[in-house]
Point group: C2
């Protein structure tokens, strides 16, 4: 039962978090003569992937981005990605995973040309992200693309001021304790690293073990450090200001009683990992970040277009 003396939990809508980004995107895209084209490859028959694809199409249409869904047998996916890489009318490429499983899918993520990789899953982007390298060039003009779902979670945390704007940029999570339940290479591990790079202490929990991601000290160690932990989830949860969960199982539930009073609870699993009673304990709760993820995808696309234009400018200069 909720305690009437406490202020109620704010249940956030992802659309509300996404709105300022979408407004900015609409403005940017409206000024573009050639509207950016995002190609999404669907190579599985996962209903969740199809739903996400429909959602992407709708969101892109609203923002003014052209979106084309290409349904292909998974065994042809690599060849079709290579075609799209070479096609200058395609500005961004995304793939609705899983197609084969984590290992082959990670290979395919690297087949997508870096310049068109709006999901930020290419090795170079991931290396930069893990090493807190924020730009692709020495002039710091081209931002290194960040993976969409982890970035969406960061935007949610900025929205609710868990990121403290009074702290210096790059350390705005200083003092925050965060638990991330999921350590996939697509969401959980990059998210833990990004939060640690911004100053948080992060417990990264998966089914096998717990790792602690924390910010390195001094100039030489701007990126996070990782250490092993023997702590158990039920010891960790009461310490955490933020609990972020992405366990793809409908039976997995985080006990509300284990959470710190006033916790910020974020679910990014397609299943609901928190109990319904989480709203009696949390200060903010968000059950899905999907709409913010799509906004980040669109933002990465618009950046990619700028990146491709920059490259063409360089190439035409070289030609002369």
């Amino acid at each position: 039962m909720s305690n009437p003396s406490l202020p109620a939990c704010a249940v956030l809508d992802a659309a509300e978090v996404a709105k300022p980004f979408r407004d900015e995107l609409k403005l940017k895209v409206s000024s573009m003569i050639e509207k950016p084209l995002l190609v999404g490859f669907l190579g599985n028959d996962d209903p969740a992937a199809r739903k996400y694809a429909k959602w992407t199409a709708k969101s892109c249409a609203e923002v003014g981005i052209r979106f084309e869904l290409r349904e292909v047998p998974r065994v042809e996916l690599e060849d079709r990605i290579i075609d799209a890489n070479a096609d200058s009318s395609v500005h961004g490429i995304m793939v609705y995973y899983p197609c084969f499983g984590p290992s082959i899918d990670q290979y395919l993520q690297n087949v997508v040309a870096k310049e068109k990789d709006v999901e930020g899953l290419n090795f170079q982007f991931r290396y930069n992200m893990y090493h807190n390298i924020r730009f692709l060039d020495k002039e710091e003009k081209l931002k290194s693309t960040l993976p969409c779902t982890p970035l969406a979670v960061v935007k949610v945390l900025e929205h609710v001021a868990v990121y403290n704007p009074k702290l210096p940029f790059g350390n705005r999570l200083h003092g925050k304790h965060i638990c991330v339940i999921n350590r996939s290479e697509v969401v959980g591990r990059p998210l833990a690293a990004m939060l640690a790079n911004d100053g948080a202490k992060v417990w990264s929990v998966d089914v096998d073990n717990v790792l602690i991601f924390s910010r390195g000290v001094g100039l030489k160690h701007r990126n996070h450090k990782v250490s092993e932990s023997t702590q158990k989830l039920d010891e960790i949860l009461p310490l955490c200001d933020v609990v972020i969960s992405g366990v793809p199982s409908p039976s997995y539930k985080i006990s509300t009683a284990s959470l710190k009073e006033g916790v910020v609870a974020i679910n990014f699993s397609s299943a609901e990992n928190f109990e319904a009673s989480v709203v009696e304990r949390a200060s903010f709760y968000i059950g899905s970040v999907g709409k913010v993820t799509v906004a980040m995808l669109e933002r990465n696309l618009v950046r990619s277009v700028e990146y491709q234009l920059e490259q063409r400018t360089i190439a035409s200069k070289v030609d002369k």
Copy 2:
């Protein structure tokens, strides 16, 4: 019971297959003023990995290669790889996996500098291998590194003349039916692709499904094509001239009765995937390819040294 009217199965020793490569390596290394240095990183407490490391050390010593085992906590592995990448006294780097699991391990494989990646696990090498691109440069001087265990299996198949030397290079497995049970990104899938690139029809079997890898036709499709199959293992095995298995489970056994008479049977699992009776059915049987794998690793190392020297020559020319 074996049929005394049939010639007995030749049980191969990997050392016998490895010998000509090791002899060639000894000769090459003996002429090198600076003996190549291979650094192996051990970041787990897997006894099989430690055994493999000891084996590598022994084999390198015999060939004249310097080998240094560096034991590091897995959370420091990435930083130590980066140090070794930058250290010009290190010519080759290998890592005894698994450290974290397939996804993070695949990330680490890409952290190893391409020039020092003697295991051939870097994305660019893998992309080249899947696309049957055999050189790194247009002049076709620098061979693209192939992954060691799949390459070792190829060498076994050449040793027993499954590769037909009377057929043109690149098509010497034409007409051969091969089953590969395992579709990891480290062995099973690259192996299936390499065999298909050389002309075989390959059934790639894993726990979930079966894919068929076959050679593309014509100049435009030099690399293999993949299609889904609904065939079951017990329908596939009787068709296969070669059965290669790498299932890491002591309880997994391929029934001898399901094999074609005169099959070539190759086990690359640390467990024994064939029944003891396989020798009553097979023409050739090899229970472990580990020693050939190490020879391929050493061969890749010697090539890497040549590659690094080539790069330094280019760099010094540019300086002038």
